[in-house]
Symmetry: C3
Subunit: 214 residues, 3 copies
């Protein structure tokens, strides 16, 4: 059990870094200064959990109480800025590639954040409210990306392409149902994260998109 | 009294559906996928109440505790997507017309949400703070539309045209004053909702706008 | 001590007015109607404190409990609208000049809001959490401007140019450290505000910007 908790924390930290990278990359694309890049990086990494905690009534949000996550997000974003600053054109040329590599870590993070969100919602006494639990899991997973896009003047990408929120919903429901069915928590957690991860990877590989009306 | 409460709940449910329709229509215009359409629809329908509850300290926001409103918003948005998906061009051609029909239901919803918001603020112990009560009523009424426009990359329409927020403010003040004057609650509620409705209909019919500087 | 408190409140009120002016000016630029101008003005003036209080769990946010700040923000925004409405072209021609005059008052406000934010965070029992305290100070200072830009469809200017957030961070850290070092509170407050003010003035005069990657 201790090992599994360690692995899960590693997933979360990896997600924090991957989300910070995705935030920093969008901010760099918008030619923001170093403060903007770090601010967007941190917001992308911690924003989902902060929205969740505001909705659940945790004051201040947990993200502010553990300096590890803030530090990982800040350092990762600053590093991204430094890399772009030093490499210039070479950074711009490898942007797409970096994005698709980061996509893999991002998928692990999406899974871990979804599960953490559901757990936090249940710990706050909402065990029986499946919609709320899964919704807050999804918000923990996609909220940072929503804030990132709002703050950089983009229409949230999660509302438009690839199977992103739906991966979080499916994995989140799986975790919730397994947990409620009394399955061992470690198994439930890893099943949930794995499901999110696999759906993300498949939908990226096969360019799956949700149906559009037109 | 029981009948009047029933009627009021009908107003609220009608508002939930009308707001979901307006959210879904904007999302469809932006060519979002089915998740985006349903997400924006739900956010438009429930967003105002959620912002109000976050400001008042209801955790979790009441919207998450009654599945009826969520279900109405979700099903309505999904239906809008289905209609657009099936009709394609014919949907696009009748968009304007659908919008102006929905405008009528939307006006009832704006009135009902405004009154509910003021009542919730007063129930939370802010009876004597007229500004706070009316402000939270207006936020309950227009907050969903604000979020809809932010998430779809639009400058909030409520800040730019037609008498929308002002209808909510006037109706809200009327309800607040009548209630505080000791008038029967049912009378106060219906007066408030009716006032919002009439102002909205008149301003749409006569194309009233608030003054602009230039 | 009483005099110093009076002076500090004067700083805050001046900041409220200056922030409302900056909000109203952006809304006027976007051709919003009088409701839009006043709404954006109030949001810019009070938004930072409201976000801070939501994160700290003050329900309702303090801004709603003291009508002075709301009144100052509302009247200032309405006055800006009136001036623009009456002067028309002459207003537009003197826009840049008005902006640079307001910039001076804005700098005092940024300092005062930063210090108030840190103090509020510490009073809520987060004295030992330097990151949280300073972060909430900065959010109090820049949050209103962030909301203003989001609601008017702009990428937040604070993420892109001039030393704005960084002035707030530096002054905020100074105040926090002085306070924690046991320095007289009045001295600490004025040192913090003065530092923010001086950095803002210097960075405007010499057109300092933070480094960008490209």
């Amino acid at each position: 059990l201790e090992l599994s908790e360690l692995v899960f924390h590693a997933f979360e930290l990896n997600g924090t870094a991957a989300f910070a990278v995705s935030g920093a990359m969008v901010a760099l694309k918008k030619r923001m200064d170093i403060f903007g890049v770090v601010f967007i990086g941190i917001t992308t990494a911690l924003g989902g959990g902060i929205i969740r905690d505001v909705l659940l009534g945790y004051h201040p949000p947990k993200a502010f109480l553990s300096s590890v996550y803030i530090a990982v997000a800040a350092v990762t974003s600053a590093l991204m800025f430094a890399v772009a600053f030093l490499l210039k054109d070479r950074y711009l040329k490898s942007e797409k590639k970096a994005e698709s590599v980061n996509n893999i870590f991002d998928a692990v993070g999406l899974g871990a954040f979804t599960v953490t969100g559901i757990r936090t919602a249940m710990d706050a006494g909402n065990c029986g409210n499946a919609f709320l639990a899964v919704f807050l899991g999804v918000i923990t997973g996609i909220g940072g990306g929503l804030l990132r896009d709002l703050l950089t003047g983009e229409i949230p990408v999660v509302l438009q392409k690839r199977i992103y929120a739906v991966a979080s919903i499916v994995g989140g429901c799986a975790y919730y149902l397994l947990y409620r069915a009394g399955v061992d928590d470690t198994v439930a957690i890893f099943a949930g994260v794995a499901l999110v991860f696999v759906i993300r990877m498949l939908s990226t590989a096969f360019r799956w998109n949700l149906p559009k009306a037109f």
